[in-house]
Symmetry: C2
Subunit: 285 residues, 2 copies
């Protein structure tokens, strides 16, 4: 077991009969455990024939890749198994264990259709609408959106309002967001909605200061502008926190959180977990 030569990356092959999102997420989570190792991901997606699968596996074999697959066709799963065993290739079948467990419990036969191609159903429209909603009501563009939104995000500059809104939109939730600055007008609609729908985003002043300086540098500007002034940031945060308390909304400090983590906390806090992820044909809104 020798330390791998740093010049030679470790290869992941994502093989899927669909878009490969599940296995890609897993590869990312794995890679995050090894910040010093260099990886390359290759995706072989929409693999639905034996020929395409053999080609993908042969490519994977050439670079002794770690294979993560989410194939659902039984013939293809068996082919991948046999190929990898014969070639002594590591492969991890991500989808089969939970699929078989559901079959064992329900007696229902899985559809074995690649992916979830229900994109013309109401769920698909709902998701598209949620994304369009997030873009339309981003950055306080139109406060009327607050009345229609599932979630209203408030936050001072650089608390990830836009990415968070878009991330939550991808989970079928209608999200509007409003930047909070001391001198700004607070739209009346904010007082008309259920405070349980509102999330106040805050951050540590030192971190905000760092982020804003970084951004000034990225934009080719002087980092020591008022935008990154620590006292000004503290005033903004105090104003925001007082507003959140008046509104009676939940407050999340995003200081040590990624977008996924903040989104997950919001779903937990607003009890949205059961509605957001998946809507079947039967129970769609």
């Amino acid at each position: 077991m020798t330390e791998k030569n740093k010049k030679e990356p470790l290869y992941f092959f994502i093989i899927s009969d669909s878009a490969g999102e599940t296995a890609s997420k897993l590869a990312q989570a794995t890679m995050a455990q090894y910040p010093t190792v260099e990886f390359e991901i290759f995706r072989r997606t929409f693999i639905t024939t034996k020929e395409a699968l053999i080609k993908a596996l042969t490519d994977a074999k050439k670079c002794d890749a770690i294979i993560l697959h989410t194939l659902i066709n039984e013939e293809l799963v068996a082919l991948a198994d046999h190929f990898c065993e014969a070639s002594e290739l590591f492969h991890f079948d991500v989808l089969t264990p939970p699929v078989l467990e559901v079959q064992r419990r329900t007696g229902v036969i899985p559809s074995r259709e690649p992916g979830a191609l229900h994109h013309l159903n109401k769920n698909y429209f709902k998701r598209i609408k949620a994304m369009e909603f997030a873009v339309k009501y981003d950055d306080g563009k139109d406060p009327r959106g607050f009345l229609e939104a599932d979630i209203v995000l408030l936050g001072v500059s650089r608390t990830s309002k836009t990415p968070l809104s878009l991330f939550l939109a991808n989970k079928n939730l209608k999200v509007a967001n409003l930047p909070i600055v001391p001198q700004a007008h607070i739209p009346k609609q904010l007082w008309e909605i259920d405070p349980k729908k509102i999330v106040g985003l805050t951050n540590d002043p030192e971190i905000l200061n760092g982020i804003r300086k970084e951004r000034m540098i990225a934009y080719g500007l002087n980092p020591d502008t008022a935008y990154s002034d620590l006292d000004k940031i503290k005033t903004e945060l105090t104003f925001a926190n007082e507003l959140y308390e008046k509104l009676g909304c939940i407050i999340i400090n995003v200081a040590s959180l990624s977008i996924e983590e903040t989104a997950s906390m919001i779903l937990n806090a607003l009890n949205l977990e059961d509605h957001s992820y998946y809507i079947t044909e039967d129970n769609e809104a």
Copy 2:
């Protein structure tokens, strides 16, 4: 093995020390195989202590849930194993197999830090910038964005330009999009950029007609307006296809594709697969 009573849903418990994105994707992919089965997903995320884990497992046991977990702390993994074996609960440890395989190959010890909390690095800024870029340059708002974009999406109405842009932005790509309508001005910037960056989206006229009628109904409008007129749609598609050919860009018919699938095809076609998913501290741009 009796057919499960439809009134009683099958429960998935997503248990993660982070946001639970990987296991959630896997649960969704599994559920997609069983369109007739009613499921409920419960997420127990940011589980980083034994107490919190025991609470989550106890909740899962109460409804005999299918447990999918992505825990990285070895003590927690072992605790989950023992608890589930003692309680005869099905549990699938999604993360351990690929993590151990990387360790076996590289000799590097995994960090065992939950999630990938590198959110103040350049990768994080790049992703936030990509999302803000997508919102800023959505819907042809400013054609100067084309010059800066990694991908320019063109398409007639209802070819998922906005959701696709946002989905690709989440993979760190700067995406601008432009609606294509016969009477519209085509910005000169479109002829100045590498056609390899441009994706022309098209669709089947009958499907577009159906989608547009659905949307008219959803908006409470008469479905038989010019917007959904089949001849008009065909004229639009012909105009778009001729433009795509003149530009020499790739053309994707989204008729039978979900957003994930279209995005995956775009990454494959533009050879973006290696850059989009994950940037480590060492190789970030």
